[in-house]
Every structure is written in structure tokens, then in C-alpha cells.
Symmetry: C2
Subunit: 340 residues, 2 copies
DNA sequence: TTTTCAATTGAAAACGTTGTCAGCTTGACC
DNA sequence: GGTCAAGCTGACAACGTTTTCAATTGAAAA
């Protein structure tokens, strides 16, 4: 009795067992599973029944070995704990749902060497495709990796064989945020930057400069301080800014986490937001709407970015992924900004 | 020339190529790679050199197929976006670093059926082990899954073959938080609960009750409102609580996200924290220290929990994982609580 | 010098699939 | 009735490893 075998040794139900149980050959079983060739109705039924009875699960590794495909997608993120990445991951996860693909996620921790290391690890696992969410790898490196398997990369534009970029204008976001402050009458607008080598951070800074220039405000270097895209960077930056004594009425932080740190320092020093200082972030993280007061910020459609990445990659892998339209960047005005 | 072959067809460097290049048999190459049997020094050198020159990477799938092991660990979380899970994942990630194991992460979204579904997916991929971070699966289900592969589960105590639990007392945490409020003179302490079926949530409630009983305070059902462990649940709960008119001077929220939502409502209604109402959370999420004011909460050593899970599972898989000591739960007093 | 034995090594058989190839039916057509 | 094509089917060779098993070697022992 086949079920005994199942109980005795849970691991070992193979296509051979199914074939025996259904009284056909292994080839036929394989054909039914993959639907490659038509088989007679009675055998199909017998096999499907046997599969169900034996709870047969094809060994993915044997299959991978034969077909050269692993049904696995590698995802390089920078930090598992960053809400930015997890939001995108959420979209990715949704995007590959029910496609049979699984995600292997690795973190590069904002370090080009570590990123390359992790990608090599993924390649050793023969992932079918790669999603690279920002980071410090050079375009050339990515193009090289793309010789091995298709890649979708976010946060930059790469023109290379086998690479698709999901890209949207951080510059425009920086511009939107700054223009909003300008339109409220602010003229001394501080900027807490992101990591100096980070392309998103650079673009946001460019948007800031552009809005300033457009309003005829000369950029005051004393109002530019360095952050690191994390809460603590915001804390340091805001302290430095306040200690410098340079007067300002508004702050544009390069991301929400930075804004959070900055806001804490302001509050600690008795500076009210938005009464004394207006504050704008960037990202619209899930928690940002629940801060006190709720943070004015630039909304990036991160979930959709994830979905879109999945869809693009699936497309490159020959699967028909559902097309996702990327909503534009959007200024979300909440309660941390006020007319001066 | 071997390198030509490499360039022409990047995928296909096999152990056979290496053997040919080094002038030995495939068996010898395999032996050198796995270190199973001693081979002569000169051949070892030749093979190692060939491996390097050809950039040979063993095909993990062929190996898995033969050895029956996949060097993959499945992780069931509930929500990629929850800071709670990502913190633990961080520890997990660190724990398996350089062990050759990779993590496949799936989300159950707090739904027992979906959780079981995802676990079956992981099992179809023949993961070597499983880490289950809380959730709604029954103990019996987990014990059954454990017949297939070792499991580490958090947030509950399961006595079963092939299962290890990482468990620490949410009850004690609830007790600590409530006792802190009591010691500040509060007597009307509201509680915003978590999901009613969630074991962590239940334990925290029990701790709350215990501290109240110890202080001789009778529990007032009017002060207990339902949340869902997310920000929005905190918003609804706090609105309901305030609308009910029941007086209170302190709130214990079942987790930090809930506290965040509750705090926003308080602020919106002009109720000051901690001047009018004291607030305690649970989890000590990374952002909680940066709220305004910084949140008093119970710190769970989540990162260490992740490391510990990894270590336990690695142990069950026959790897010598480094032992991790789990720090105890801890009350972190910040600035949202004050003497009444 | 022969015998014994351990240390290395290579050939070949798995592991569980898929896909090619050839063989077997079956029915249609002349 | 014979021929053919078409439709199914099974045997078997891959896929790239690891792991027997047996053979070869060289050195040590007799």
C-alpha cells in the first residue's frame, strides 16, 4: 500500500512512485504535470489521483537541474529594517504571488563591496533574475552582473542589455517639497542631505537647489547639513544646524527617517513644529501619518514600485506579468508645514 | 583554452571542466571541494587553481539533489512591513551569515490558512529547517509540520519532537509596564489590547491584570479597548475610549505601533502626553526612541531573538551555531510617563 | 624479493526530473 | 486488406553533483 510508504518515509515520494501507483511510466507522469503533451483522459485521471493520494510534490531541485531554471528571484536590499525597503518588498512579494517564484532577500548595508558579495551569493544559487534596490554598486558592475541573468534595478537609469530600470524622479520630489515651503513664504530653508554617494540623495538635493533658484533664493551653504538617511543622522544634523546659529524657518529632510530625528531634536529644544519651524520629509513611510503632528512629505509609490519591478522581471523571464502603472510622486501636505 | 569556453557560455562551468583543466577525475575534484577524503598536495593545488581560473561555482541544485539538503531555511513572518518582524529578521540574517544557508521569507498576514499555505510552499522547496515567528497556527499543526523538518518557533512554548521554542514572557512585560504606571500613582489605567486570538497579546493582557490585582485595583472593563497591533487600531481604540467618557490617567498599549496611533489621537484632541495622560508601549521599535516625546516602552531583545532562533536551528541541522544569550525583557522609561 | 596494507585515485552508479526517440495503437483512406 | 499518418506511450539518456567500489600505487614488513 502506497500510503504506508508515505508514512514510513515522508521525504521520498517521487515521480516513480506516482507512476507505479497509477500504472503508467514516469514520462507520462511528467507530461501530465507539465502539460507538455496530450495524454489520454483515463491516464490523466489515474495520475492526478495518484498524485493527490501520495501527496506528491515534485522535487524542485531535480527539476532545476534538468531545466536550468530555479524559480527563484534574488533581491538585493540595503537594510531589512528600513521601512523604505520593506514597503517595496511588500510590493515585490505581492507581484510574484502565485507565479511559483520565490524571493531570496539579501542585504548589502549600503556598502558596495558587501553588495557585490551578496550578489555573487545569489548567483551561486543560480537565481533566475535579480532585483537590485538602489545601493552603491556602479552601473558597470550591474551591467556585468546582467550578463548572467536579467536584472531590474531601481533608483537609477541604466542602459544595458538585460537590465531594466525602475526610476522616478527624486529630483522632482525634492523640487516639489522645496517649492511647497517656498510657496508658504519660507526663504531660509535648511536641507538635511542623505549619504553623499547615494544617487537618490543627490537627486533630491538637486531638486532643492532648483526650486530655490527658481524662487530667486541664493543657496546658503550654512543651511546644508549632512545626514545619513537614518533617524540618528537627523538628530546629529539638526543639532549641528541649531548649534551653528544660522537662522532658518523651514527644513527639508532628505527622507522621513531623517525628519523624525530632526523633529525630535527640535521638540527637545522647545522649538515647535510647525509654529516655529516647518518640516518636510520624503518617502511617506507608513508611520509618518501617525506622527505628532503628522508629517508633510513626498509620497513615493513604493508598493507599486515593488509590483512594477516584479512585473518587469517576470516579463524578462518570459512570464506574462500584469502591467503596473506607476503613480507619480506626490506632495502630501499634513501638519508640519505652515505659512511663515 | 578553458577561458574561452567560460566567456562563450557563462553558465556551464562544471566539475567536469575543472577536472579536465586540472588533469584529474571528477571524484577528486569533489573530494577536494568537500574535504571528505585526503588527496595529494599537488592535485589539490592544481584543482584549486583550476577552480579559481574557471570561476567554478558548484551547482547547488545538483548538490541538493544528491545530498538531500538544500542549504535553505524557510522563515514564516506575518508582515514584511512590521518593524517587529524586520528586527527579528535582522538577527536571523546575522545569525546565518557565512554559514552557507540562505533565507526564504514568506508572509502569513496573520491568517492561519495563509500561514499553512506558505509553509507548504516552503516545504515544497525542501527547506532544511523552518523558523516560525508567532502567528495563528495551532500547536498541533506546527508539530505536524515538524515531522518533515526541524522547526524553531517564537512566542509560544511547544513540546514536540523536532521543535524548539524561543519564548519569553510577554506576561512579565505586561506586568512591568503596568506596574510602572501604578508606581507613578496611576489607578485608572486603560489597556489597548492586541488581536484577541494572538497569544502574545493575550499574555500582555494577563500581565496587565496581574499588576492591577497586585495593586488592589479592580479591573474596569470600560478601560479595555480592542486594537489590532497596528497604528490604525490604536487610532480607533483611542477614539472609542475617549468617546466612551470613561476617565483615565494612563494608557498601556499592547505594542508600540498601537501606542503611536493612540498618541496621535490624544495629540489631535489636545490631550498632552505625558502631562494629561501617561502612555506606555511594548516592543521598543527603532523609531520609538525618536517620537515626540520619546516613548516609554518594554524592550524586547528582538535582534537577539533572531540570532537565537538561527543558532537553535543551525544546531538542529548539525551545524555548530554560536550560542546566544537572550537578554531579559526590560522597561525603558522615556518621556511619555509621569507621576500623576 | 615477495607480501601486505594503507593511501590515493578513477569509473560508474546514484539523486529525481525532463525530453528525445522510437515503438505501438488506432483509425482513416485508398 | 494494406498503407499511412497521427496520437500516445515507455525506455532511456541527460542535468551536475556526491559517493560507493574497486583498482592502482608505493611503502613498509617479512
Amino acid at each position: 500500500m502506497a500510503l504506508d510508504r508515505l508514512v514510513a518515509d515522508r521525504q521520498a515520494v517521487t515521480v516513480l512512485d506516482v507512476a507505479r501507483e497509477a500504472g503508467v511510466s514516469v514520462s507520462t507522469v511528467s507530461r501530465i504535470i507539465n502539460g507538455t503533451v496530450k495524454v489520454s483522459e483515463d491516464k490523466r485521471l489515474a495520475v492526478e489521483d495518484a498524485i493527490r493520494r501520495l501527496e506528491f510534490k515534485p522535487n524542485l531541485f531535480a527539476r532545476s537541474l534538468k531545466k536550468g531554471t530555479t524559480m527563484t528571484i534574488g533581491v538585493l536590499i540595503q537594510d531589512v529594517e528600513s521601512p523604505f525597503f520593506t514597503r517595496v518588498m511588500c510590493g515585490l512579494e505581492e507581484g510574484v504571488l502565485d507565479t511559483g517564484y520565490a524571493l531570496i532577500i539579501v542585504s548589502g548595508h549600503w556598502d558596495a563591496a558587501e553588495e557585490a558579495e551578496r550578489i555573487k551569493l545569489l548567483m551561486a544559487r543560480r537565481v533566475d533574475g535579480l532585483v537590485i534596490l538602489t545601493g552603491h554598486l556602479s552601473d558597470a558592475q550591474i551591467a556585468e552582473f546582467a550578463q548572467m541573468q536579467p536584472i531590474v534595478v531601481t533608483g537609477r537609469k541604466i542602459d544595458a542589455e538585460n537590465v531594466r530600470s525602475v526610476f522616478f524622479s527624486n529630483e522632482e520630489g525634492g523640487y516639489l517639497a522645496t517649492r511647497h515651503l517656498v510657496s508658504l513664504g519660507h526663504r531660509r530653508i535648511a536641507f538635511i542631505a542623505g549619504p553623499p554617494t547615494h544617487s537618490d540623495a543627490i537627486s533630491r538635493f538637486e531638486g532643492y537647489q532648483q526650486a530655490l533658484a527658481e524662487a530667486g533664493i541664493v543657496l546658503d551653504p550654512a543651511l546644508i547639513v549632512q545626514g545619513d538617511f537614518k533617524e540618528n543622522g537627523g538628530v546629529f544634523a539638526m543639532n549641528r544646524l541649531l548649534d551653528s546659529g544660522a537662522p532658518f524657518t523651514a527644513v527639508f529632510a532628505a527622507n522621513d527617517q531623517t525628519a523624525l530625528g530632526a523633529r525630535m531634536v527640535l521638540s527637545r529644544r522647545g522649538i515647535r513644529v510647525p509654529d516655529d519651524v516647518s518640516l518636510v520629509g520624503f518617502d511617506d513611510l507608513p508611520t509618518s501619518a501617525y506622527l505628532t503632528p503628522p508629517l508633510t512629505t513626498i509620497r513615493q509609490p513604493l508598493f507599486e514600485v515593488g509590483q512594477h519591478c516584479a512585473s518587469l522581471l517576470l516579463g524578462m523571464l518570459g512570464q506574462q506579468g500584469k502591467a503596473i502603472a506607476l503613480p507619480p510622486l506626490e506632495l502630501v501636505v499634513r501638519e508640519t508645514t505652515r505659512r511663515v
